[in-house]
Amino acid sequence: MMSVSPHSRRPDLAGERFWSPLLAVLVFLLLWEVAARLYANPYLLPGPWQVGLGLVEVWRSGKLFEHIAVSLYRFGAAYLLAVVLAVPLGLVLGWFTRLHRALDPLIQLLRPISPVAWFPLAVLWFKIGDLPAIFIIFIASFFPILLSTIAAVRNVESTYLKVALNFGSSKWSLLHKVVIPAAFPYIMVGLHIALGVGWIHLVAGEMLGAQSGLGYFILDARNFLRTDLVIVGMLLVGALGLLLDRLMAAAEKKVRRRWGIVS
């Protein structure tokens, strides 16, 4: 329950932070193993046990860290680029309603374009390897950040703007002293969603001639029909996604606290 109703003076038990997620994960693994056994053929639906063996196999091959490092680098570069471009653009478009109205149809037209459809252009513009992957992930993260930043800015309470304008804020100071802090919690949600959406496109991005990375690893496993390794790849992607998400949440919390917004 949320903070308001019945009095809860319970200390924040370790159970909540640690044991209950663990339990949830274990229940999930159990259901999965049962489902896998029902299907009988471990190639059709490998269970967690078999996937574990697959992980050991990959681990032994020694290339795992290279894949992870390369993917993190590509994702990091793409995501940062998306943040650095989409947040300011979102602020501008959220702010200048008329400009937004002019550009919105174009944005909405480009936004739903699948990364697959970008492939021809990606190979045209970028050398094989890192760059097309970065481009594809960038495209995927860019639009959710842009949209939520625009929405966040447009939802800023107008009284805050009133006050700021009254004190003679310049446009610039208005933006970074009022609009950004006020919109912050919702921009954060967008960054959060984009983190997932961008990370999803790792696999697509690493289809364009990359010879390493988790996406390549998954594609390769798929080409070899090694569904267990595909799932190993998925889970690694998932686990790293989870890690990134937690880092993000920690950063968010810190800023929220400085902002005086208790979440």
Partner: protein, 300 residues
């Protein structure tokens, strides 16, 4: 294996829009009485293989290594017919003037995957030329992007099923370095894998399917131009492109001699083992190959 509307068993046949799978023209060329053929087009190998494994299609043309892998994974499939022989090309950038395998050293060559006939072919080419495997840089890439990458100068060449090589040639960005038939004469590539449950339940249907495909192969070879025209409905490629593939030279890809023979598969397995793909190479061919249908149809 469900029944069609007219009581004939329905057979969903997975394929890709490449010339290697042109036998699918049987749907047009042959009047099936015992089986209702439903072609299902896929856009890449893994999807077709996964669909066959899950029983979402009853049969599919798959690369030899993929069929072996499915079998290794205890998927109940059998190889009942070859899809074709030969039919791939090592295409190099038009701007290069490499004329011997030695010139390939250090080049970036794209392959559809390490688990493909094309990789095996390329490795054989290097072997035969006395070059080490790492002489070239292999780039795993989806075939449609290969032509673009070659044109944009990101690749030096690629080896993949037709018509991608032909496309590069026609656009003037690539040229034939060697046809696969010259690397490995008469090599096998795509194989018709049929799910055993279908075969057991509908032996007549399976027999007629194979017969129809063999007859279609003959018909294609008799009139390659007609086949190119008719292919549009199934492959969707421009007919000029298919015509190019089928006629320059005519034996770039062949559709006769489709009996799945042990020697061909064993040779492929041997090559797979040599490049380190031991698991699929270990499949027992006695259970996997089912040449009886093709033999019966060809009257052997």
């Amino acid at each position: 294996g469900r029944r069609g509307g007219d009581g004939r068993p329905r057979l969903r046949l997975g394929y890709l829009p490449i010339t290697d799978h042109l036998l699918l023209l049987a749907h047009d060329y042959y009047d099936f009485q015992q089986v209702e053929l439903v072609p299902v087009k896929f856009s890449s190998w893994p999807e077709a293989a996964e669909a066959l494994r899950a029983g979402a299609v009853d049969a599919a043309f798959l690369l030899t290594p993929l069929g072996l892998a499915l079998r290794h994974q205890r998927t109940p499939v059998q190889a009942v017919l070859l899809g074709h022989r030969n039919g791939s090309v090592l295409t190099l950038a038009a701007r290069d003037d490499i004329d011997s395998p030695a010139g390939l050293v250090g080049k970036r060559i794209a392959i559809p995957s390490r688990f493909s006939s094309h990789y095996l072919l390329l490795r054989r080419l290097l072997d035969d030329a006395g070059l080490p495997p790492e002489a070239v840089e292999y780039i795993d890439m989806a075939p449609p992007e290969m032509v673009q990458s070659l044109a944009a100068g990101r690749l030096d060449g690629f080896i993949v099923a037709e018509p991608f090589g032909a496309q590069a040639e026609m656009q003037g960005v690539g040229r034939v370095f060697t046809l696969s038939k010259d690397i490995w004469p008469g090599h096998i590539c795509c194989v018709l894998n049929l799910r055993e449950p279908f075969l057991q339940k509908n032996p007549e249907a399976a027999q007629e399917l194979v017969a129809g495909l063999i007859a279609t192969g003959r018909a294609i070879e008799q009139d390659r131009l007609r086949a190119a025209r008719q292919s549009v409905a199934y492959l969707g490629q421009a007919p000029e492109v298919i015509e190019f593939v089928l006629t320059r030279p005519p034996d770039r890809v062949t559709y006769h001699d489709l009996l799945p023979q042990r020697a061909d598969f064993a040779a492929t397995q041997e090559q797979m083992a040599r490049v380190g793909q031991r698991e699929a190479a270990a499949v027992n061919l006695d259970n996997y190959l089912e040449p009886a249908l093709a033999a019966a149809a060809a009257g052997i």
